[in-house]
């Protein structure tokens, strides 16, 4: 699906939502995605999903997208006998593999720091703790900062103020972009409606990013029939090598 097609669909959906809204006036926030499954196929180079919704009045919208959690090791290089080698490391538990915050304006303008911390909004308020509780606090701080910097560099962590656009003061829309290296798994999209610094309403929508098609078949086979896959890989390569030598036989 092209981005334009997605956008058109989103606009249609928003229009529909606007019509449906009066009937559900008790709900201060309604939001959904144009798709709940991102299929990673052979030609995958990143994609976008449109988030759309409506509020029962003016307010700020913050959408937090979280990827599946995993443990991450951060290595620090040190100088030893003229060489830079991996020295100390800190392992952090349950780090989201993807974390992005989309909002209509700067988070600092939307809510005071303590309110952001309370609702865990923003990269700075992510709870990333070392697996080993004995880790020194200063070490934790340094290594956590390095982890965040690396994730930002890979476009897997990010804050995008101004990415949520309002159409009037009740309808909103945001394009959530995912890079080509996006980790697969179950994602959660948390949409928050904030008024004068306080979270008034929230809604959580699931999003699945999964491999499909030939790519998925290949990786699934590689996992489940590892030995057969290995033999196939060897034989396939050998066959291709032999075939390639045929046209040159009489040269």
């Amino acid at each position: 699906m092209t981005t334009r097609a997605i956008t058109r669909r989103a606009l249609l959906a928003v229009a529909f939502l606007a019509l449906a809204l009066p009937a559900r006036a008790d709900q201060p926030l309604l939001a959904d995605l144009t798709g709940h499954l991102i299929a990673i196929t052979t030609g995958f180079t990143g994609t976008s999903v449109v988030l759309f919704g409506a509020t029962d009045g003016p307010g700020d919208i913050v959408a937090i997208v979280r990827g599946p959690e995993r443990d991450s090791v951060v290595w620090q290089k040190r100088h030893l006998a003229g060489l830079w080698i991996n020295g100390h490391s800190v392992t952090f538990a349950n780090v989201p593999s993807y974390y992005a915050v989309f909002s209509n304006r700067k988070l600092a303008d939307i809510a005071p720091a303590n309110a952001q911390a309370q609702s865990q909004i923003g990269i700075g308020n992510l709870r990333i703790d070392p697996r080993d509780p004995q880790t020194r606090p200063d070490e934790t701080t340094t290594f956590r900062a390095a982890l965040i910097a690396e994730q930002k560099r890979a476009h897997l962590f990010g804050e995008y103020p101004g990415s949520v656009a309002f159409l009037g003061d009740r309808l909103f829309r945001a394009t959530l972009n995912f890079p080509a290296n996006v980790p697969t798994g179950n994602y959660l999209v948390e949409v928050l409606l904030i008024r004068s610094g306080k979270v008034v309403s929230g809604q959580t929508t699931p999003l699945v990013i999964a491999e499909t098609g030939v790519g998925a078949d290949v990786s699934e086979f590689a996992e489940n029939n590892a030995a057969l896959y290995g033999v196939g890989a060897v034989l396939g390569a050998a066959l291709l090598g032999w075939l390639a030598s045929l046209p040159f036989r009489n040269v």
Binding site: I40, T42, G43, F44, T45, G46, R70, D71, S72, V73, V74, W75, Q76, K77, H79, G82, L83, W84, I85, N86, S89, T91, F143, A146, L147, A149, E150, Q151, A180, N181, P183, T184, E211, V214, G215, A216, V218, S219, A222, E223, A226, A227, Y229, G230, V231, G232, A233, V234, G236, A237, A238, L239, L240, G241, W242, A244, S245, F248, R249, V251
Partner: protein, 308 residues
């Protein structure tokens, strides 16, 4: 991002097909000309363009199977494979890779694989490159001065005094069977630990230690690399699920064309020039490795994910 990106299912990244094809072809030319698999260049280059290191190592091994089959066939048609020598090297090679895999597991446990691999490469490549450079320059100079110094057919060192002597007809050698077995063993260890076919170690060793004629060296080396890389591919697929066939196939398509061209170019180049060229490439890779280890990195931190 390129025009024609392809998603690599095991690596989990999208890369430009053209870049991969060109990379494969360049390494294929090397493979055909010198009889080295080119894994020592392919693996770091793949990591550089964004393939996870474990997948890069395993998938290059996979592509090397095909590239060396193609190269070996071309040499076999010219009668340039010493099968007896190759088989003996293989014998040692399999034993060596078992030891290598075990060593690799220990290094991984203490978190120093990266350092060990870089250092081992740097040390090996510098030594080999320097030796080859000195030797080939010397003979090039000699030829330019018009002195034809024939290589002695029987240059005996203590190595040739070892038992189990065999006649290697293709190589015109009468030497101990222990030599190729030991050499194969050492290269097998290196293959498993460094994730390469080991041709870049094998080729110089065959020329300078075994004193095989230059003509049969590439074919025999490629013959042996087929089996070593096949073993590595299988092991990686079973143990780590890191072989990306899509990546391997794309590299291979570029690689086989390169290998055929390389074999023909190799036949036209003179032995000394060939060795000087290989020495230059080997030294350049070594210099890059040393540079990366000694220059303060821009970023002192790196990330790793724990596989659970």
């Amino acid at each position: 991002m390129g025009i024609l990106d392809i998603y690599l299912p095991i690596a989990g990244v999208s890369l430009d097909v053209m870049a991969l094809l060109i990379l494969g072809a360049a390494v294929g030319v090397l493979s055909g000309v010198f009889g080295v698999g080119g894994g020592f260049l392919l693996t770091p280059l793949l990591i550089f363009i964004g393939v996870p290191p474990a997948v890069a190592v395993a998938s290059s091994a996979n592509q090397l199977v095909g590239a060396s089959v193609s190269g070996a066939i071309a040499h076999w048609r010219r009668g340039n494979i010493d099968f007896l020598m190759g088989a003996l090297m293989l014998l040692g090679g399999f034993a060596g890779s078992v030891l290598g895999v075990w060593l690799f597991a220990i290094l991984r446990r203490i978190g120093q694989v990266e350092l060990f691999v870089s250092l081992a490469y740097a040390l090996l490549l510098t030594t080999l490159g320097a030796l080859m450079m000195i030797e080939s320059t010397r003979s090039l100079l000699r030829r330019r001065r018009g002195i034809t110094l024939r290589r002695k057919l029987h240059q005996h060192t203590w190595l040739h005094g070892l038992p189990f002597k065999l006649r290697f007809r293709r190589s015109k050698l009468y030497t101990s069977a222990l030599l190729p077995v030991i050499l194969g063993f050492l290269v097998g260890v290196l293959s498993a630990v460094l994730g390469v076919g080991g041709g870049f170690v094998m080729v110089p060793a065959m020329i300078y230690l075994l004193r095989m004629p230059t003509a049969v060296v590439p074919g025999t080396s490629l013959f042996q690399i087929i089996f070593v890389t096949a073993a590595v591919t299988l092991l990686q697929a079973v143990e780590n699920n890191t072989v990306d066939v899509v990546l391997a196939i794309v590299l291979l398509i570029g690689g086989v064309i390169g290998a055929q061209l390389g074999t023909r170019w190799g036949a036209k180049l003179r032995g000394e020039e060939l060795r000087a060229l290989l020495a230059l490439i080997v030294l350049a890779v070594a210099a890059k490795l040393v540079f990366d280890l000694t220059v303060k990195p821009d970023n002192l931190f790196s990330l790793g994910t724990l596989e659970l």
